[in-house]
Amino acid sequence: MTQFTLWDIFRNLLLATRWTILLSLVSFLGGGILGLILLFMRIGHNRAAQFFSKIYVEIFQGTPLLMQLFLAFFGLGLFGINVPAWLAAGVALIAWTAAFLVEIWRGCVESVASGQWEAAASLGMGYLQQMRYVILPQALKIAVAPTVGFSVQVIKGTALTSIIGFVELSKAGSVVTNATFQPFTVYGLVALLYFALCWPLSKSSQILERKLNVAHRNH
């Protein structure tokens, strides 16, 4: 049996971390775009669109991400195509991310005081103008901290894609463990790598939120 040095283990894990980062970015961006569409459906005036957006969130927040991954993997397979793991992983994570971002952003839009809508309306602005020039700029500022905070959940969520066979950090952890028989070291290192990715984002989110609260208190 070949001897693995700590560096060998770490190097392999580090290489796999690229895929965790890439998948996180894709999920976050894709989820953001889909989330924005769902957000406008939710806060718009069309009842059917509102309902759809609501049900969407209900389903994707009410079921395990792992199940969503399985369903994407086997569901896409029903179309007769051979689904690569990365595709199913991307699709499921985007759908899941969107469901959480809509709710976060909706909260931000609703936290803008109703007097702002009224002031804008009394100046003759239409719904879209009120939204575009008065509400969204304020909601956006409030949304930054929780959105950054949620990116941590996305990164952690990518770990589940190892279960449908996408080779990222967690999968690499299992593979390396099977080769080295050093689960304590390997999973410890895997955890540290995730921590290195997530912690700076968590901290920035906290700092941003504190800044915003201080700014608000000055009003």
């Binding site: 005081a113 009224e118 804008a120 309306a121 009394s122 003759g124 239409g126 020039y133 304020q138």
Partner: protein, 241 residues
């Protein structure tokens, strides 16, 4: 024809009828004070005139144009009638100047340089030319309310609705806002204001409207209304102060 015609206006929130048939005609250049107990429907009346609430029956017209609840008619109405709120409702993400420019640029499509020139002019008119680049949270309450007035004026309205615009202010800041309103009245602006400043109402207003339980209970010239109230409700209201 009057400038603002309010005819048999009724408004309910669920089972609660808040306006029970309001009739009021306002001539150009008039300054009307609306007084009355809390909950008597004063704010609701102003909000209906500005289309922030839809009415259940009756009609409201401003300068001959009917108030209808579609976006086009609402916009036309709101270009004629400005509104000032108790809580100022300045846009916190924009400077004082930005607040005054925004709706000109967005709604009236006024070119940027012109909108800015008008904004400076309006801020100057309320005595805040120096605060063009200040953000709302850097201004006192009185200054914020004056910016809100400048913002409404920049749309060149023919009438202004003011809902208790000094009620959220510290006592020492009330005077500076009322001084601005007084100068607007002197220039001939049509004003419809809910107020608790009785002395101001007596000095400046052409008519006083006393609202009670969703109706215009008494109306007349300030001398008459204050010196010689006709109904027990108004007597009690004035005595309470």
């Amino acid at each position: 024809m009057s400038l603002i015609e309010i005819t048999e206006v009724r408004k309910s929130f669920g089972p609660n009828e808040v306006l029970k048939g309001i009739n009021l005609d306002i001539e150009p250049g008039e300054v009307i004070a609306i007084i009355g107990k809390s909950g008597s429907g004063k704010s609701t009346l102003l909000r209906c005139i500005n289309g922030l609430e839809s009415i259940n029956s009756g009609s409201i017209s401003v300068a001959g144009a009917q108030l209808l609840p579609d976006e086009l008619h609402l916009k036309a109405l709101r270009l004629k009638v400005g509104m000032i709120f108790q809580q100022f409702n300045l846009f916190p993400h924009l400077t004082a100047g930005g607040n005054v420019i925004l709706s000109q640029a967005v709604v009236k499509k006024t070119p940027k340089p012109e909108a800015e020139a008008i904004a400076r002019q309006m801020l100057d008119r309320v005595g805040l030319a120096a605060k063009f680049d200040a953000y709302p949270d850097e201004l006192s309450g009185g200054q914020q309310q004056r910016v809100a007035i400048a913002r409404a004026l920049a749309m060149r309205p023919i009438a202004l609705l003011c809902d208790e615009i000094t009620s959220a202010l510290d006592p020492e800041l009330v005077g500076e806002v009322l001084a601005v309103v007084r100068s607007l009245a002197a220039e001939g602006m049509t004003l419809l204001m809910v107020t608790h400043e009785m002395k101001f109402a007596r000095d400046v207003c052409s008519r006083v409207v006393f609202m009670h339980h969703g109706k215009v209970h008494e109306i007349g010239r300030p001398e008459a209304v204050f010196a010689n109230p006709q109904t027990p409700e108004l007597k009690q209201f004035l005595g309470m102060l």
